[in-house]
Point group: C2
Chain length 336, copies 2
Amino acid sequence: MTRPVGKIRDVAKATGLSIATVSRVMNGGKNVSPNTRDKVLAACKQLNYLPNPAARALSTSRSKTVAAIIPTIEHSIFAKYIASIEHSLAQRGYSLVIAISHGDLDEELAAAQKLLGMGAEAFILSGADHHPDLLDLFTQRGVPHVYSSIWQPASAAPSIGYDNTALARAAMDYLTGHGHHHIAVLHGPLADSDRTRDRQAGAKAAQRDGLTLDFHETSLDVAGGKSATRALLHSADRPSAIFCFSDVLALGALFALSEAGLRVPEDVSVMGFDNLDWSGETAPALTTINLPATRMGAEVGTQLMDHLDNGTPLGPVRLDGAIVERASVAPVTRRG
Amino acid sequence: MTRPVGKIRDVAKATGLSIATVSRVMNGGKNVSPNTRDKVLAACKQLNYLPNPAARALSTSRSKTVAAIIPTIEHSIFAKYIASIEHSLAQRGYSLVIAISHGDLDEELAAAQKLLGMGAEAFILSGADHHPDLLDLFTQRGVPHVYSSIWQPASAAPSIGYDNTALARAAMDYLTGHGHHHIAVLHGPLADSDRTRDRQAGAKAAQRDGLTLDFHETSLDVAGGKSATRALLHSADRPSAIFCFSDVLALGALFALSEAGLRVPEDVSVMGFDNLDWSGETAPALTTINLPATRMGAEVGTQLMDHLDNGTPLGPVRLDGAIVERASVAPVTRRG
DNA sequence: CTGTTAGCGCTTTCAA
DNA sequence: TTGAAAGCGCTAACAG
């Protein structure tokens, strides 16, 4: 299929040098005379030579490939994060391979085995909840890995991310600070995600006398947010605010409210979580929590590469999230 | 960093067999006695042996890796497409590496060189518009590649996708069929995408007496759709329908219209393009064009793998898109 | 059915 | 500053 291409020997032959010298040039090696270097580079260009990555990897035991396993890619927050990792790795000649776990521990394990078998040198996982065999595998083979999208200083591997619990708690305080006493909380499947469980814990921590909290699990998409909100609206005692653990859910809530003829935030306040690229454009603009997806990708990438290249130890990093005040949350008007 | 792991010799030693036999077992080879096979498999499990992919690739000149270069990943339609390709490749032990071109031909070329240098065996590109050097590179090295998200039987490489021109034309006919005589068309940067240009051509083809068509280029995101629509609303002669070349743009239009106090579809009809996962959930539900992203990913994946594995020739495939009638388009009420 | 052996293309001491 | 040569771990004839 793929036709034969120039090899290092061809370049050596063309320049009259040895393959060792060509190799040195290709690797930016020091001990090469500028003259020789130019000659080699010219020949490479001319022959359209590209070092064979498999041979190189075999020889160095380095594939310069890192793997990321994410629950889904069909979510802007992950897409943004992945784009950032890819960008960061590319800067230093690394590549990213990804796999989708659908939030399933077994699928994640299987994906990791496949990626390891593909030569991935390091792994980026989402959250801190993983298959025990996965951790065994990594430990046994000494595979560097980090947890992301979460911050848990005591986790088995370094976590690089934000504090979901604290952030959810802050959002709740923000809402109660605006006088809300009855808040519905919409979230995706708890079983699939420790990040979701952390957020739930944070929300629950805000619980106190006179505060009614209703938790509703739904599918993690716009349809889920919409149907859960619709259901909510049928209950006799309507919440004055809806806190969604994802902007996607909040978008669904906005649509359901609009259909029901309810105004946001006059009738019901809505708060999101993520701050996706469109979150400031909704009508009304969504008040939400900004997550440092891009910074997280960069941090994860550089830590892993520094570790792989220089042995720099990996360490947990707590990234800040922050409430983005826009127009979908208003103080509750005293009723009763 | 990564500690030494078992090699093929270790399992050969452990089983008292030769490395050739172990290799046969690992590759599902035929001529192996069931007994031997079991012994080898057991030893592999026991030693946690995983064949070294670099050695294997070097030996076979096959990396089982295909590359996809896409304009952006932060768009559900691409995310869905990528997920489908990944799924299809994984079924047969192939891996997917991706790169983002940001719709720039030079960036795409650079990414392709990098991916080739990483061992990618085949390429999936978006659209049919590429850097001439890229095509030269592929031709010279005999790298299999296909164009996707487009259908152009006469293109330089097989195109696997939908007919953007015809689809846009169909949407226009649908709109004019509903009595719309003044239609605004919102689209992303023409310079970045031949798919967008094709859609524009399709829309223009619907041009006829008594039909006013206004084209507006904007950024390809919700904010772009919103601001373009806002601008539209200021003009004296308001269009009765807005046709967006992406659902993302349509979402922005919906928000702008909502803010302006205009009802959809009573005051203005809105039509999208893509049929993203949330498109049926908007208020009102978006009438749009469904794109076969998942089928496209599967087709692209299998064609490339069949070609790589068996030499099956690559060929263009036209996938169908279809109008999804929902609630955002209504017949225009006769005015004047 | 199983073993021997010759590379795959490159990096990397070790000498010169 | 450059060259010679020994592998890296695996696959694929070829023998037996």
